[in-house]
């Protein structure tokens, strides 16, 4: 399939010379009005249809994320994987690739991490094995990412479809493992494999829900991503090829090699997330290991305008929505997928406003 499925990179928004103040203010106000409509009125309508007071729902959303250390750390435990994955996706978006296979890459990372942990000979080597499993997870993600990349460069298959296919394949793999070779003693179930002993859990501080390892990795990866994409030759090359692949040869750039590099980086980070899910969150392999973080991180990247500086905030928003909605079923009797509706509306609003500005030029 041809490339050119609509570039995910937004056009650089330059302020037009000679645009007078009233127009700027008017445009700002209309943007706010549209955002209000989309993010408040529409969800409220949906809530009313569901028979619930919008005010109560939004209150519960907010109260679900603030107020206690436990809630904050819950949010952080969702924020970390989202931010990490979204950082990884920046590499592929830079070179104009749609890495929809990120879900599968998370899963493969989790699978590899689990495999390594299962071979841990004794609890004393726990720390070492944890490190190995994190590396293995990254390796699994790299493998899955490169597979999709090769299907594109050698086989000419659009990365969207190969990514989707590999997601399904990864899902099938996990199901087979959980119900087959790695099944729990007794009956196999959707709650996954036998949990790992505490020695193979990433160490926690106090009773937080997230280990500092995850946060440290997050900062390292985010900083590295920002540095690589903005300040190194690699990042510039990715940007150049993403912007004009035809000119690549003139500058001695190999399209294929750089695409594979981007897929490997993206996959590796996603795989790392997968192994963090194993070692830090679930401590076992289960079919829902990726928790939809892959697809959500694509949305996060879209909301952040594919820019590093906005990703932490965007993923925080998404994590809050996710967590805040968990107690909605209990308290108000509505389904927690309300968060997904809000998240989708957020993306559409951003894309819609962007499109309006581009048109108005």
């Amino acid at each position: 399939m041809r490339s050119g499925w609509g570039r995910p990179l937004p056009a650089p928004s330059k302020s037009m010379p000679g645009m007078d103040h009233t127009r700027v203010v008017k445009r700002y106000l209309s943007d706010v009005a549209i955002a209000f409509l989309a993010l408040f009125c529409l969800p409220s309508a949906a809530l009313l249809i569901a028979g619930v007071s919008p005010f109560a729902a939004f209150c519960h959303l907010f109260s679900g994320v603030i107020g206690s250390w436990s809630k904050i750390s819950h949010v952080l435990s969702a924020w970390t994987p989202l931010t990490l994955c979204a950082c990884g996706l920046l590499y592929t978006f830079r070179i104009n690739l749609w890495n929809i296979g990120v879900e599968g890459q998370i899963i493969l990372g989790a699978v590899f991490a689990t495999a390594v942990l299962r071979w841990c000979p004794s609890d004393a080597l726990g720390r070492v094995w944890l490190m190995l499993s994190l590396l293995a997870g990254a390796g699994g993600g790299i493998l899955w990412g490169l597979l999709a990349g090769q299907l594109k460069t050698r086989g000419g298959i659009n990365e969207i479809f190969s990514g989707l296919g590999l997601n399904f394949a990864a899902q099938g793999l996990v199901l087979w493992l959980v119900f087959g070779p790695w099944k729990r003693l007794g009956t196999a179930s959707m709650s996954g494999t036998e949990p790992f002993p505490a020695a193979l859990w990433l160490p926690r501080l106090w009773d937080a829900r997230i280990s500092p390892t995850g946060l440290i990795l997050l900062f390292v990866v985010a900083a590295a991503t920002g540095l690589v994409l903005m300040g190194t030759g690699t990042g510039l090359r990715l940007k150049a090829i993403g912007s004009n692949p035809r000119a690549a040869h003139l500058y001695g750039l190999s399209r294929h090699r750089n695409m594979l590099l981007a897929m490997a980086c993206s996959g590796g980070i996603a795989g790392l997330v997968g192994s963090l899910q194993i070692t830090d969150v679930y401590h076992r392999l289960l079919p829902a290991i990726s928790s939809n973080y892959g697809y959500l991180s694509l949305l996060v990247a879209m909301v952040a305008g594919y820019r590093m500086r906005w990703i932490p905030l965007a993923s925080l928003l998404f994590a809050c929505l996710n967590h805040g909605s968990i107690q909605l079923p209990m308290n108000l009797g509505i389904d927690s997928s309300f968060a997904g509706v809000m998240q989708g509306l957020l993306v559409l609003t951003i894309l819609g406003l962007h499109g309006r500005h581009a048109k108005g030029r």
């Binding site: 989707l164 296919g165 087959g180 959500l296 997928s337 997904g340 998240q343 559409l348 894309l351 499109g355």
Partner: protein, 326 residues
């Protein structure tokens, strides 16, 4: 050896294929006109939920189907507006919509989980139902199933035998050439995206009102949209081949139910994975076949050329690229 009633087997294959037929043929129409609609998985779920809810509230199946169709039109309308008018990426919008519609379906469908509701009943065709094998297999189905079968023929006729279908294909292949010929690419693409969306909505209704009646979380219809997308590619954007793919998929699913009996430990979802490797294989094949060296080999073997012509199909050139009228 188990006693297998082949006519019943065929009957369940045909019934099971109905929603997939609606979705994949609808998407074929949309893509043939040049629009890529990735939101169909979510649309099917939302359509299924709305159809079931509407049918429960009004106790009328027709209202359910109509409501699902409207939902499909609305979702594809959003996609068309954002991509064709606002110039956003069709992939991005489609992707967001698929997630959002799924969540919306679960959210609004909460009160309708696992409650009984109206269901389509088989409507045997008077004389044809007496036929020995086909009578049970083909002519004792529910109305939606009949409609899905008719749709195959209708799509083929529309695409290849009418002037409108010709214009649709022209717009998908080369929007600027179409514009130069006096056609209106943007308008036509919107129309066909909406038409395709309508059919996708019907697919959802067919599931929740006929094939897998009811609503729940999960419903069981999850993944149907992705499979329809795969089938469109597998079928080379040709309605007959896409339909063949849909039947093949349904057969695989039915076979899966049998295999469940033989391998009880393997969950059914593993078989749902099957269409995608097939699709990737087809795409690989298509791309390999276009390589220079193979082209030259093909020229020396006329029989090979004929077979390959049948098996391959290439995407409309304008797929996914919004047309800009200068």
């Amino acid at each position: 050896m188990l006693e297998i009633d082949f006519s019943l087997l065929l009957s369940s294959i045909i019934a099971g294929a109905a929603p997939v037929l609606f979705a994949s043929l609808g998407e074929t129409i949309t893509e043939k006109a040049g629009v890529l609609n990735l939101s169909i998985d979510g649309t099917i779920l939302l359509g299924a939920m709305v159809a079931f809810a509407a049918a429960v509230e009004t106790d009328c199946l027709l209202v359910g189907f109509a409501a699902a169709g409207v939902v499909g039109v609305l979702v594809s309308g959003v996609l068309s507006y954002f991509s064709l008018r606002l110039g956003q990426s069709q992939v991005a919008i489609g992707f967001v919509l698929t997630l959002m519609c799924r969540d919306l379906a679960y959210f609004l469908g909460n009160p309708y989980c696992r409650i009984p509701g109206p269901q389509a009943i088989p409507v045997p065709i008077p004389i044809l139902k007496e036929l020995p094998f086909l009578g049970v297999a083909v002519f004792s189905q529910t109305l939606p199933v009949y409609m899905s079968l008719v749709l195959i023929g209708f799509c083929w006729w529309y695409f290849y035998r009418t002037q409108w279908g010709l214009r649709m294909r022209a717009v998908g292949e080369a929007p600027d050439a179409a514009f130069a010929r006096g056609l209106a690419p943007q308008r036509l693409q919107t129309v066909y995206a909406l038409a395709g969306g309508f059919l996708v909505g019907l697919a959802g209704a067919t599931i929740s009102l006929a094939v897998k009646p009811g609503w729940g979380r999960p419903q069981g219809a999850e993944g149907t949209g992705w499979i329809a997308l795969a089938l469109v590619i597998f079928g080379g954007w040709h309605p007959i081949r896409v339909a063949a793919g849909a039947f093949l998929f349904s057969a695989l699913q039915v076979a899966g139910i049998f295999m469940q009996g033989w391998f009880p430990s393997v969950p059914a979802q593993v078989l749902n994975v099957a269409p995608f490797p097939l699709m990737i294989f087809t795409l690989l094949l298509v791309n390999l076949l276009q390589k220079e060296s193979f082209q030259r080999w093909k020229e020396t073997q006329p029989w090979a050329a004929a077979i390959l012509e049948c098996l391959t199909g290439s995407p409309p050139e304008g797929l996914g690229k919004p047309y800009r009228s200068e």
